[in-house]
């Protein structure tokens, strides 16, 4: 089998461009997902079952349906309310953020619940209200424990963002698809894509593990 490196070389600048967008989308998705996830997580943890219900529905929906379906609904449905026509990048960011928020809200819940009950009681016994106790006592401790799972979520998004190519957002898989379409070659574009994703995830996992070890020894 001959392997046509020239295709990869020719497409290298586009693959690089796509990779940068892949990283960018995943990063933005993680950041927005974290902010939304905090509120959804807190909402989900409310004692009042009626108030918590919408948050539970949200989490169930986004964890219980395929990301691909969410992307299509957002791209062809939701986004059209906000812009004329469609906007693949906007749809990609929204889908990744909303999806990540559901998973991250559960990371927040686990993080918050892992903090000893006595911390909240000590804070409240000093006269702090619930919000102050959360903000100054519980969340700073929970957040430290959340860094490793948040890193994992970022890695998941890096891989899952490939699904956005379905709506032609110009991330890595989009250009890989172009290369395949132009030359009718399968191995070169797809193996290159696999290698790029692997390099990204393996590198990130390595740094994440180091960070995790540092956090646990502190």
């Amino acid at each position: 089998m001959d392997f046509r490196f020239d295709i990869i070389v020719e497409y290298a600048p586009l693959f690089l461009k796509g990779t940068l967008l892949t990283i960018g989308l995943s990063l933005v998705g993680t950041v927005i997902g974290t902010i939304l996830g905090l509120f959804i997580g807190l909402g989900n943890m409310m004692k009042n079952k009626w108030l918590a219900f919408p948050f539970k529905v949200y989490i169930t929906f986004f964890r219980g349906t395929p990301l691909l379906v969410q992307i299509l609904i957002i791209h062809f449905g939701v986004v059209t309310f906000f812009v004329d026509g469609t906007n693949a990048i906007l749809a990609g960011i929204m889908a990744l953020s909303l999806n990540a928020a559901a998973y991250i809200s559960e990371i927040f819940r686990a993080g918050i619940q892992s903090i000893d009950k006595g911390q909240m009681e000590a804070a409240r016994s000093l006269g702090m209200n619930h919000v102050q106790a959360m903000r100054y006592v519980i969340l700073p401790q929970a957040f430290k424990r959340m860094i490793p799972p948040l890193g994992n979520e970022f890695i998941v998004l890096l891989k899952d963002s490939s699904l956005i190519s379905i709506v032609a957002a110009p991330e890595l898989m989009y250009y890989v698809g172009l290369a395949k379409g132009q030359y009718y070659r399968v191995w070169e574009p797809y193996l290159t894509a696999a290698v790029i994703y692997l390099v990204l995830t393996v590198t990130l996992t390595y740094f994440l593990n180091r960070l995790e070890r540092r956090l646990t020894t502190e």
């Binding site: 006595g118 009681e121 409240r124 000093l126 430290k144």
Partner: protein, 240 residues
């Protein structure tokens, strides 16, 4: 002053406090003793509403803590609490632990909270630990910081729930010493403890609880030397 009237507390079907009536006078030091599970912690935790009470009333400085209109956060600033397991905030230095509530709740200035914090650390003999993190402290030191943290809010009443039970024996003394000093300065205190020596020396009154009721209360000397109830006698014979 604390006035407890017909206090009842249940967890589900389990009635843990059954009709508690007691008045704690200003500057009084009341020691609460009793077997495990008798409801001592629950009683303390009802006073500052860490547990919502099922029935009855508790008036803290005249405010009914069970009344929905009472601002419970305000009441809690008047009532300091010290826990068996300290519950210091591990992500903050000792000084920040002490300054947090004055800064955020009392809205004191950084400077005055800091001065106050350092002064309190001196009082509990830990001024050199101001910038240390709780994890580097011994149990006795942690508990002294926890006391200083509670005092920083300038409470009128202090609640202690077995403050020395989690400590190695050699560290019990240093914590009790701080508490004795506090009592001497006229702090109103309710202390759940198994330290009968402390009860005898510092307590104005000892309350013996069993099965969710106050079985007997008296001056320490009277209660220890001349208990009136069999349950008190049998408990004391086990701990004295």
């Amino acid at each position: 002053m604390i006035k407890v009237e017909k206090l009842k507390k249940s967890f589900g079907q389990h009635e843990v406090l059954k009709d508690i009536n007691v008045v704690i006078q200003p500057q009084e030091v009341v020691v609460v003793i009793g077997p495990s599970g008798s409801g001592k912690s629950t009683f303390l935790r009802c006073i500052n509403q860490l547990e919502t009470i099922t029935d009855g009333h508790i008036f803290v400085e005249g405010k009914d803590v069970a009344d929905k209109k009472t601002n419970i956060n305000e009441v809690r600033t008047e009532v300091g609490m010290v826990f068996q397991h300290f519950h210091l905030f591990p992500h903050m230095t000792v000084l920040d632990n002490i300054m947090l509530a004055p800064l955020k709740v009392r809205k004191s200035s950084v400077q005055s909270s800091k001065e106050k914090g350092l002064q309190l650390l001196q009082k509990v003999g830990l001024e050199d630990k101001a910038n240390a993190y709780p994890s580097s402290l011994s149990g006795g030191q942690k508990q002294r910081v926890a006391i200083a943290r509670a005092l920083a809010m300038e409470p009128k009443i202090m609640l202690f729930d077995e403050p020395t039970s989690a400590l190695d024996p050699e560290m019990v003394g240093e914590v009790l010493e701080v508490m004795k000093q506090l009592a001497k300065e006229g702090m109103t205190m309710i202390v759940v403890t198994h330290e009968m020596g402390f009860a005898r020396e510092v307590g104005d009154r000892v309350i013996f609880m069993d099965g969710g009721v106050i079985v007997e209360e008296n001056e320490p000397k009277q209660l220890f030397e001349n208990p009136q109830h069999n349950r008190t006698k049998s408990f004391l014979s086990k701990v004295l």
